[in-house]
Structure formats: structure tokens, C-alpha cells
């Protein structure tokens, strides 16, 4: 949870700055408590960091393509990650077609990078994303001149990225509708929204994914049943929408009644009032909470492995099954963890930036 609370005016901890040696010594050993903390944490680091470094870098095999080099070494086996990077990143996608998911990943990352600039927040951006996703699904799925690849063969990083972006992208408008429905004056609409939001929020995502993957074939007629990828996407979207709805509802509650009255005095109808007056203000209030929810969703995408979708973790597990190599599981999961960390850490910094920019900016 990002805290929007005022920091104390003292030295803010954790931010490394250039400070004089004397100042540093005073910070580390100035008071008995600080001296004790320094000794305790110093000892902790001395015990843990050197063996970690030895394993990670010094004794590690970096690029040697021979699996036996890894068997002989006592350190990490990064050459496995290097040799298997294609399989780790793209899973079971057909080997000759791997350039397609590679382009898809670059495209999504480039678009994300483009979208963080406040200057590019126009209605054109939305059109750009929609167009990009038409292209992405064509590249991934094939047809119109490309070899067809069913979703069951999609894998690795593109699956993770597509699931995250599409689930959040669809869940956001759905969440706004749910939040408005929950504050509606029509009792049937309100009750429906409350039941949906609260039951989704009361359940672990894993159980919702299980229902979507295992139970849905029982509930729906054959003709209406989407494939496994879409079912997971639907489950993720519903889950994200329920959480986003609650965050947005918090923002709606922060808007004073005068705003509604002013809009009514201008003669604006309901949807105009919401779109032009209420929502822009409400969403700006809750940007930090929205960012946290989105980070949780980025991390949640990793759960689809449990229902057998081929995301990053599953492709890591599949790569580890190769008997030629000594199965360096810790390295593989460290690599996958680093990808997720990079995604959500950079989003967290983006959220910090939005928060610092303050609600006054448009």
C-alpha cells in the first residue's frame, strides 16, 4: 500500500544520498541503539551476502553452452537460462514462429512505455491500444497469411503480458460500471452489484480460476463455451473488476454533493454528469490505490499456471524437465521472479510519480 502520508522532516530512510563520511559514521554509530543496529545488520549482511555473491556470480557458469560445466560448478547455472531463453520466454510456441511472440512482447512493452508519458494521454491512445491488440492477436493466433497457432500452444512472457494488459484493460471500465451500479438508487441494480463485488472479493482468485477452468464446461452449453485461455482471461477480468470497483467507489464517495448539483443545474443528463464531472475527479483521487490494485493484478497473473495455462512459470518448469541439463530450478525461478519484479516495480515507481504529480494536475 503506498502511503500518502506526510513524511517526517528528518533524514528520509532508505534513500541513499551523498553524505560526508563523518555524517555517515554519526548515523551508523551516533547513538547506542544505532550502533547496536549497525552491528546486528552488519553481521547479518556479512554472513549472508558473500555466499550469495559466490553462488550468483563468482562460482557461477555464465555462458558455457556445455551442460557438464554446470554439473561441475558449485555456483549458479546461468548458462541454462541463456541456452533455454527461447523456451523460457515463449514456452511451447512453435519454434520456427518464435519471432511472432517476440514482436508481440516488444510491442506491448513499447506501448506501455509510451503510455506512461502524460503527454500521450489522449483519446488517440485508446485507439492505438485497440489497434495494437488486433495486431497482437493476429500475430499470436495467425490466419491471413500466417500459420495458425491455437491458444493451447501460446506460452511464456506473451501470455503473461496479454493476460495482464487485457484483464486490466477490460476490468477498468467494468469496474467503473460496477462502482456506479453499487451507488445506484435503483435497488435491483445496487443489490446485484453488491452481491457480485462482495462474493468475488471474499474468494481466493485460485478458486475462481478453478471454477472457470474446471466447472465452466458443466455450467455452459457447448456452443457458448470459450477456450481455456479466454476462460482464464474472463476469471482474471471479473476478479480485477470487483477490486477496481471498490477503489473507484472510494473515489466516488469523496466527491461532494455540490458537484452533482452543479451538473444538474447545467442540465447535464446522468451519463454526461458521470463522464465529464464526477469520474475525472473521482479517479484522480484514488490513483495510488488504483496503482496498488494493478500491481496486485500483475502478480496475480502468475496464478494461471495452476489451471494449466502456459505462462512464464509453466514454461520454466517445462524447460527444467530437460534431462541434458542438471535442472537448475532456483536460477530459473529467480529469473522468472526478476521479470515479474521488473514489471511491478517499474509500475510502482510510475505510481509514485503520479502520486507526486498530485491531484491538481490534469
Amino acid at each position: 500500500m503506498a502511503m500518502s502520508l506526510p513524511m517526517s522532516s528528518e533524514a528520509t530512510p532508505g534513500h541513499f544520498r551523498f553524505i560526508g563520511l563523518r555524517r555517515l559514521a554519526k548515523l551508523l554509530f551516533g547513538t547506542p541503539l544505532n550502533a547496536a543496529l549497525t552491528l546486528l545488520f552488519g553481521a547479518l549482511l556479512v554472513v549472508t551476502v558473500p555466499p550469495m555473491l559466490r553462488w550468483l556470480v563468482i562460482d557461477a557458469v555464465l555462458f558455457d553452452p556445455d551442460p557438464n560445466a554446470c554439473r561441475a560448478a558449485t555456483g549458479a547455472c546461468w548458462s541454462f537460462i541463456y541456452a533455454k531463453s527461447g523456451q523460457l520466454l515463449f514456452g511451447i510456441y512453435p519454434f520456427d514462429e518464435r519471432w511472432r511472440p517476440a514482436i508481440v512482447c516488444l510491442l506491448i512493452l513499447a506501448l506501455l512505455g509510451w503510455s506512461v508519458r502524460p503527454a500521450s494521454w489522449t483519446s488517440r491512445l485508446l485507439a492505438l491500444w485497440v489497434a495494437a491488440f488486433a495486431l497482437i492477436f493476429w500475430l499470436m493466433g495467425g490466419g491471413f497469411g500466417l500459420a495458425e497457432v491455437p491458444t493451447s500452444s501460446w506460452g511464456g512472457l506473451p501470455v503473461t503480458l496479454i493476460l495482464t494488459v487485457v484483464a486490466i484493460g477490460i476490468a477498468f471500465p467494468v469496474g467503473i460500471l460496477l462502482a456506479l451500479a453499487r451507488r445506484s438508487t435503483l435497488p435491483a441494480v445496487r443489490v446485484g452489484a453488491v452481491v457480485l463485488i462482495e462474493s468475488v472479493r471474499g474468494l481466493p482468485l485460485l478458486s475462481i480460476l478453478f471454477v472457470a477452468s474446471i466447472m465452466m464446461p458443466l455450467f455452459l452449453p457447448e456452443a457458448l463455451l470459450p477456450d481455456k485461455f479466454v476462460r482464464a482471461l474472463v476469471a482474471l477480468t471479473i476478479f480485477a473488476a470487483a477490486y477496481l470497483a471498490e477503489v473507484i467507489r472510494g473515489g466516488l464517495q469523496a466527491i461532494p454533493n455540490g458537484q452533482y448539483e452543479a451538473a444538474a443545474a447545467l442540465g447535464l443528463p446522468f451519463w454526461h454528469t458521470q463522464r465529464l464531472v464526477i469520474l475525472p475527479q473521482a479517479i484522480r483521487v484514488v490513483i495510488p490505490a488504483l496503482a496498488n490494485t494493478i500491481i496486485v493484478m500483475i502478480k496475480n497473473t502468475s496464478l494461471v499456471l495452476v489451471i494449466g495455462l502456459f505462462d512464464l512459470i509453466s514454461s520454466g518448469k517445462a524447460a527444467l524437465a530437460d534431462p541434458e541439463w542438471p535442472s537448475p530450478a532456483a536460477e530459473t525461478f529467480l529469473f522468472i521472479g526478476a521479470i515479474f519484479f521488473a514489471l511491478s516495480f517499474s509500475f510502482a515507481r510510475f505510481a509514485d510519480f503520479l502520486e507526486r504529480r498530485g491531484p491538481a494536475a490534469h
Partner: protein, 371 residues
């Protein structure tokens, strides 16, 4: 007619209700048709039949000839057990880490910040799988088990800790449930104050007698290393240890941030005001600062605790039989999927509602009383 607000609201709601009912009818009719086509009966009578499923480890005693409902209870007990331990350890550690992050010592604050950032930005399931893969790499064989605390050993085969053995059978558990209900009833009646004075002690006594009848054997047993193995103590398998350690590391990051925010929310002026009243530091902390901090941290802590219950389902990633994993096995074994889904939904909703009503009760108690 459409411009009339009242008519319009009736039309909109009518359309919504019709759509929901139509969709529900579609779901129910296809489900029944599908079940009939596959020859699966519907009903909860399967619960009393012997389950014959295997639960690899359990807190309560379980044999595969026990009925389905007992297997469900055993799975639920595993989930409650993991959640309770993780909530306890991450609260204690989160308090320490959160306060240390505010320290002026850059080494201490920086280390704690690294912990918080890693916990908050990695998916818990990746953390669990990673830790599980480390288990055999980092920890020594049993013969050279690490002994970080008296009575606690860590080796490839998992943790060995002092055993607190609570031996409860199936009947015992039912009696405890009954006794707890009685006790809660007694407490509620006592607070309402509409009772002759003797009734409350009588109900409480009945509860105590119930607990005694349940024949709970309670003992603490320290493990002793015998050179090749451990005698006594209780062994936590690598799976269980990974979940406990992993979820605790993960949740601690979030609790620490909440604690840090809580401490920062109490202004320096409150300390000054306490000093000017002549209160000692301890008294200021206890009477002024902590009560105000609790008000800020209890609601977000509550949602973290609920998240712990939900995250305990990730146990499935390392193969520990939590409630969801057991239910999954039961559903595939008995084919009673509809009933299974309802039990899953009911159990998690009940667990989370219990947690949040406890937190709400506590929150009301510490809230500002405005007159």
C-alpha cells in the same frame, strides 16, 4: 412515458432482473442436463461416505476410510493452521521491520526496505516455488541440521520444532465446537445483561466440562537429536515449512508498510503534548501514540489478514493439501462438482467474514468516541 423517471427505473430494473434470471436458468438447465448425461447424482449424501482420498499431511488425525465431510474439515483445519501461524509471525516481524524502516540508521533501514520491496513486487507463487527449489540446495542433511534456536532444527527434511501435541479425535472436535458455541452464547447473554446471575457461570461450566470430555491431550515435547534422526518434537515437512516461511516473508512486507504508515500518521505534536502533560515516554506511547496508530492500521491490517487466508491456497503450488487442494481432490474423486463449489464458496466466505467481523468489533472498540 420513457421520460418519467419512475417508469424508467422500473423498466431498467425489470430488464436487469429478467436478464439475470434468464442467465441463471440457462446455467442451471445446462448443468442439470450435463450432469444427467454423465450420470452424476446431485446431493450432499456423499459427505457421509468413506472418502478413500489421500491427504499427504494434516493437523488433525485423518485416515483414508474417514468420510468425505471429515476430509473437508481436515483440509479446512490445514488452511486455518497455516493462516493463523502466518498471521502471527508476519504481524510480529512486520512490526519490527516497519519500525526499523523508519530508523535513522541507513544500513538497518536499507536492509528492511529491500525486504519490503522484494515482498511487495514479486508474485507470492513465484516466491514459494523459488523457496521450495532452494530447500535442498541451501539446507544441510539431517546429520548437520542447523539449530538456530533452542529446540528448533532446520535441515533438508524440513523444520523440527517443539511439539505442542493436541490430540483431538472426530468426536472431540464436535464436542469442542458445541462447547465453543455454548461459551459464545453465554458471553453474548452475559453482555446483554438480561439474565439471572447463575445462568452464565452454568453455561461456562458446561463449556469447560465439554472441553474436558473432549479428552484433549496437551503436551509440549522438545526434539532431541539422536545422531541420525530426531526423537520427539514435531517435524514440519519441507512443503509446510516453505509455505509458512514464504507467506510470512511475503505478508511481512505488507504489514511493515502498514505499520510504517501508522507510525508516521501520529504527528510529533502528540509526543510534545504528552510531555507537556508530564507523562513518561512509556505512558505517552501506551496512552497517546499507540491508540491513535491502531485506528489507522487496523482496517488495512484486516484486509492483509484476509489476504493471508486467500494466499494460503497457493499451498497447492508446492503440494501441501490446504482446503482448496483437498476440495479439488474430492471433486475429481466424487464428481460432485456443484456441491463442491458451494462448499468452497461457503467456507472461504465464512472464514473471511469471521476475520473481518472480529476486526470490525476491535475497530469499533478503538474508534474515536464522538459525543
Amino acid at each position: 412515458m420513457l421520460s418519467d423517471a419512475k417508469t424508467r427505473s422500473i423498466i431498467i430494473q425489470g430488464m436487469l432482473v429478467t436478464a439475470v434470471i434468464a442467465f441463471a436458468a440457462l446455467l442451471v438447465s445446462t448443468t442439470f442436463a450435463n450432469l444427467k448425461a454423465r450420470g452424476i447424482p446431485i446431493g450432499f449424501d456423499f459427505l457421509t461416505m468413506p472418502s478413500r482420498i489421500i491427504i499427504s499431511e494434516a493437523i488433525l488425525t485423518y485416515k483414508s476410510r474417514d468420510p468425505y465431510f471429515w476430509a473437508i474439515v481436515v483440509g479446512l483445519a490445514n488452511t486455518v493452521f497455516i493462516s493463523a501461524l502466518v498471521i502471527f509471525f508476519s504481524s510480529v516481524l512486520g512490526l519490527v521491520v516497519g519500525i526499523t524502516r523508519l530508523s535513522s540508521n541507513p544500513l538497518a533501514a536499507g536492509t528492511c526496505r529491500v525486504w519490503v520491496e522484494i515482498a511487495r513486487n514479486s508474485p507470492p507463487i513465484v516466491l514459494l516455488i523459488f523457496l521450495y527449489s532452494l530447500w535442498w540446495k541451501v539446507l544441510p542433511p539431517v546429520g548437520e541440521a542447523l539449530n538456530p534456536l533452542p529446540g528448533v532444527y532446520a535441515s533438508m527434511r524440513g523444520f523440527v520444532v517443539p511439539a505442542i501435541s493436541i490430540d483431538i479425535g472426530m468426536t472431540g472436535a464436535l464436542i469442542i465446537l458445541f462447547a465453543l458455541t455454548l461459551a459464545a452464547l453465554g458471553y453474548g447473554l452475559a453482555r446483554s445483561g438480561r439474565l439471572p446471575p447463575l445462568v452464565v457461570p452454568a453455561i461456562l461450566a458446561a463449556g469447560v466440562v465439554g472441553l474436558w470430555l473432549a479428552d484433549i491431550r496437551f503436551a509440549v515435547d522438545f526434539p532431541v537429536f539422536t545422531g541420525s534422526n530426531f526423537r520427539g518434537g514435531s517435524e514440519l515437512t519441507p512443503e509446510l515449512s516453505t509455505i509458512l516461511v514464504g507467506l510470512t516473508i511475503y505478508t511481512t512486507g505488507f504489514v511493515a508498510e502498514i505499520v510504517r504508515g501508522g507510525v508516521l500518521s501520529v504527528g510529533r505534536g502528540q509526543w510534545d503534548a504528552g510531555h507537556s502533560l508530564g507523562l513518561s515516554r512509556g505512558k505517552i506511547l501506551r496512552l497517546v501514540v499507540i491508540p491513535q496508530m491502531l485506528r489507522v492500521i487496523v482496517p488495512p491490517l484486516n484486509s492483509q489478514y484476509i489476504n493471508v487466508v486467500k494466499n494460503s491456497t497457493l499451498a497447492i503450488a508446492v503440494g501441501y493439501p490446504d482446503f482448496l487442494a483437498v476440495m479439488n481432490t474430492i471433486i475429481s474423486k466424487s464428481s460432485h462438482s456443484i456441491e463442491g463449489v458451494f462448499i468452497i464458496l461457503g467456507a472461504y466466505l465464512a472464514l473471511n467474514l469471521t476475520l473481518s467481523s472480529a476486526a470490525n468489533w476491535y475497530n469499533r472498540r478503538i474508534a474515536i468516541v464522538e459525543r
